[in-house]
């Protein structure tokens, strides 16, 4: 029987990206991305530096998923965020009252949330919450 997902090497490898938001920025084309990599996905350069993704941004696009995977109560809202200073991040919205509250351009911030549980071990990661004005 396999270990629960969070107790796996893959999840452990992702800790810096998932918890500390360590990504990379390309010294040649300025592309910001994650997880860390040795070759820029955008331009192929190896001139990459670690880059800490900011926790704030604006909504670039979103959808409202009424048919999520099993064990997730609908609706869930996957969104893509334009991060402050460049780069994008993909995650779920949390604390949205009605999906209509979320509009393109809305200010959002990352908050740590429990994403799911696998055989008693919790999987944590960042979701987005609307910033209160």
């Amino acid at each position: 029987m396999t270990q629960p997902a969070p107790a796996s090497p893959m999840f452990w490898r992702f800790n810096p990206e998932v918890f500390r938001l360590i990504g990379i920025k390309c010294g040649d084309c300025s592309h910001i991305s994650y997880p860390r990599t040795k070759i820029c996905h955008e331009c192929g350069s190896q001139n990459l530096e670690e880059y800490k993704l900011p926790k704030k941004g604006t909504v670039h696009t979103f959808c409202v998923n009424w048919a999520p995977p099993p064990n997730f109560e609908p609706p869930i809202m996957p969104i893509i965020v334009d991060l402050e200073g460049g780069g994008r991040y993909q995650g779920l919205m949390t604390e949205f009252g009605a999906p209509e509250d979320v509009k393109i351009g809305a200010k959002v911030e990352m908050v740590l949330r429990k994403l799911t549980t696998d055989r008693g071990l919790n999987i944590y990661g960042y979701k987005f919450r609307l910033v209160e004005e």
């Binding site: 918890f19 500390r20 109560e73 009252g97 908050v111 740590l112 429990k114 994403l115 944590y124 979701k127």
Partner: protein, 340 residues
Amino acid sequence: MAGIIGYGVYIPLYRIEQKEAAIPWGSWAGGEKAVCGADEDIVTMAAEATDNAMKHAGVNSAQIGAIYIGTASSPYIEQHVAPILAETLGLRPETTMIDYSGSLNAVANALLGCLDAIAAKRITCGLVIGAENRATALGTEGDANFGAGAMAMVIGTTGTIADFEGLHTYSTFFLDRWRSAKDSWVSNLNDYRFDREYGYQKHVAEACKGLLEKLDRKAQDYTYTVFAQPDDRIASLPSKDLGIQKEGLAPGIASILGDLGSCSAFVSLAGILDKAKPNETILLASYGSGASNAMSLTVRNQIDKKRRLIVPLEKYINRKQYITYTSYLRVKEHVKRGPY
């Protein structure tokens, strides 16, 4: 002695009136309380409280020598959550990371551990965090009363907004509320008057008396008194023993946020510090399972200088959205979708 360099709180968005969880079962409860969202737990609450505390304190992760987290609702009996928070903060592996649990005195014990480490010069600066989201059994008193929240403090010796001057513990073998390792809820059988008087009142009063003797002070001298609040009225019992005036007591939060367990006194403390002025004094006491830690604090000038960096408790109290009892049942996992 060391003091608080910065602090923060977190209260979940969701609320339910306590009576909603009591009336269907033939009982009554007043007030309302905070409820974690389906994607929240003590780790996620602690994370936001800690972020707020770090911003207020103005320290960076490299300066943190230890992280202590106290809770009675850890998702794990074997596995600790301090390293998860350490990961989000980027703390070095050399950082001491300790979970305190076992009673509602856990957060006060975490603070004690941190202060001891600083006094022993093992560290100069530490994080003390409390978070609570206790598991309850459907239809019980606890299910109606228990709330959710978190508080975090950066403890150290430089740039403090309030300093600890003394600490005294008073503990005996006393059984009131319990949760066994085999149970997934906190018990509700209690002899309320016995537990209240011989448990809470006795231990809090004795801890404070011992502290006051050490410091050669009188309870009435304190500007504020902050005791753990399983309910809004219980703090008045040891206060009377100590001769404390009602006006000095911290406002009741149990009827607004619910019983916050081990972080109750500390969330209250944050609310007090949000408004406290330099040179004011605070008498603080926790209680859990026959143990009480009493502490004395004096507020410093720094508090005014950094006040704008605080995210006040009031902001979290006023940020709220009510949920239905059916949503409550689902989010507390009292009801689960059928398997197939």
